[in-house]
Amino acid sequence: MKMTGAQAVIECLKREGVEVVFGYPGGAVLTLYDELYMANFPHILPKHEQGAIHAADGYARATGKVGVCIATSGPGATNLITGIATAYMDSIPVVVITGQVAVSLIGRDSFQEADIRGITTPITKHNYLIKDVKDLPKAMKEAFHIARSGRPGPVLVDISKNVFAAELDFEYPQAISLRGYNPVYEGDPDSVDAVYKELLKAEKPLFFVGGGVNLSDTSEIMRKIIAYTGIPTVTSLMGLGCIAEDDPNYFGMIGMHGTYAGNLSTTETDLLIGLGVRFDDRVTGLLNEFAAKAKIVHFDIDAAEVNKNVRSHIKVIGNLEWSLDQLYRKIKERPDTEWKEQYRPWKEKMVTWMKEKPLVYNKETQRILPQAVIEKISEITRGNAVIVTDVGQHQMWTAQFYQFKQPRSFLTSGGLGTMGYGLPAAMGAQVGTPGKKVICICGDGGFMMNCQELMAVADLNLPVKVIILNNGYLGMVAQWQRTFYNQHYAHSCIKTKTDFVKLSEAMGVPAIRLENKEDLETALEKVIASDSPYLVDIRIPEDEDVLPMVPSGARLDQMIMGG
């Protein structure tokens, strides 16, 4: 079939089942936009390219589908960088299409030329520069395949302007042949047997569940294994939602702001089983002493993750769908009562720790405390909303106090810690899951980094709820300054004359301000029940800390406790 490069791009999107793209036009992609117009292809226009890429990322996290984002050459493309790096760090499948200057102009510092392929090499799973229209269908097919398979990640396809107009005889490749890329789905069954043998010997095993379980949609079988064996389980920030918070075997998140029981358990366990985790420094604390008494087992689809940070005794490489299934079969060879009996004393110990020092905050104060806000939202939504956060204290309070029930219900920039992520990602998540309540929790600092997307939310009438936990500070920075820098609040006070309610209303999103504790519940109920977008500016104390806290570089049980 004869068509132009631009038509071919759209044809590829259709073949890949893409339902919507997030993009921003400009010179190098005008031909493509003309075709999008003629094909009436669903397209969402954020107000900034960073909004587009975070939206595509939020869409991907909420739905499990590949998010697609389009930008023009030069500044359009460079505006995507933070978002691409964010998706890369959290292994999110995104295909980014950028326009490039015409082939004849490449390499001459032409108008709006930027070497986006070079720039994104360290932050993409793979990238392409298409200079010949003949190469386009194959590259597009590969891009989607690479983005979603194995360990997912962003793939960028940079397309020269002239390619969009050039003609080709379109043929979409049936099969992929990439001799250098063969993700291991089914690994070595012996490795699972080895884990089974360790489980038989262990007294204090611990499951440490990470974002990989979310990404591979394996929380169901994970939950079954936990229920069958009664093995105490903790998660990383990215693993939240994989295990229901009311699961009796669940002991919360570990790491810098993890629970007392969770963090303590890592120093006591004799068999730590990490599943789809990266052993990031925010989670391990002092690396040398992380889980020092334990044999470590690492389940991952990416062999390069094993032994990157923490030395593992057993590695189980492969898709969790495969390995967890193998493990489940194996453990069922023994009655569940025996497993539970074997680990009962250990679990009881953890329950005691949890009771001794649960997550706490001051419930008596007349001020609105952020933790109470999150608990209230959790109650009202019964843990079933899609919660998107920005980065800072509010992110950690959300992680600690929202009672997650479902996988893919907590979207946050974990690896890169990108302020400004929340609002655009919430927008993308809402586009992908129209039936769900999508709530963005952000700080007064990070909100401003992409607040322009309120306009897009309003124009599309997306019922996203934006909750600003307004402490007048770059709270997380201020907490560190309070704790480690002699209360030198160097440029972290952001009290402003700007009225967020008016700002929001000006952009077309109704808004309210909350200052009194007694108004909290009714106001939140009303806002969350509404079918339109809403913004709530909640005034919280300026000096509330996120606790517990493990100072960076300390061992996980060396926590500064709250209460």
């Binding site: 990238n127 001799r179 390069a304």
Partner: protein, 165 residues
């Protein structure tokens, strides 16, 4: 310890950028890197000499490189019976009174003189790094103007080729 890796990659634009980008991003200690065409037109072979403190560090280098989509295969030639060579071109000051001595050294090392003028000579030498180092040390006395070295290339002995391993 030094390891010699044979890295087979797709012969496509941008592959070397991907490899060098990864090496610098992950802060790997690379001593040399040499790339060239192979018996297959669509495949390039890169010989990388990497310094790794322990097996874990080496494992990271291999695993991270393997993750690059265009990397087809990596073979660690270190423990194997192999031949490795480097080519050096050395421009040395050759005053008339020293010429005979230099020619002598060149012969001992089985090197070649590939260019001569009134002031200098260019010596071409192939061999293991130690041999090149040794020759450079000797030529130092006469004044070395310029050295170019290719970095190590290596190939396993015996009938099996790297792509079949």
């Amino acid at each position: 310890m030094k390891h010699t890796l044979a890295v087979l990659v797709e012969n496509k634009p941008g592959v070397l950028t991907h490899i060098s980008g990864l090496i610098s991003r992950r802060a790997f200690n690379i001593e040399s890197i040499a790339a060239g065409y192979t018996e297959e037109p669509d495949m390039t072979r890169i010989t990388i000499v990497v310094e790794a403190d322990d097996e874990y560090e080496l494992e990271q280098v291999v695993n991270q490189l393997s993750k690059l989509i265009d990397v087809i295969k990596i073979i660690d030639l270190t423990g194997q019976d192999r031949v490795h060579r480097e080519l050096a071109l050395i421009k040395v000051t050759a005053a008339p009174e020293n010429r005979a001595e230099i020619v002598n050294i060149v012969e001992i090392f089985r090197a070649h003189i590939v260019d001569v003028n009134k002031e200098t000579m260019i010596v071409e030498l192939t061999g293991e790094e130690m041999k090149i180092d040794a020759m450079c040390e000797l030529l130092e006395d006469y004044g070395i103007r310029e050295i170019v070295r290719t970095g190590r290339i290596a190939i396993g002995r015996g009938p099996i080729s790297a792509k079949e391993v």
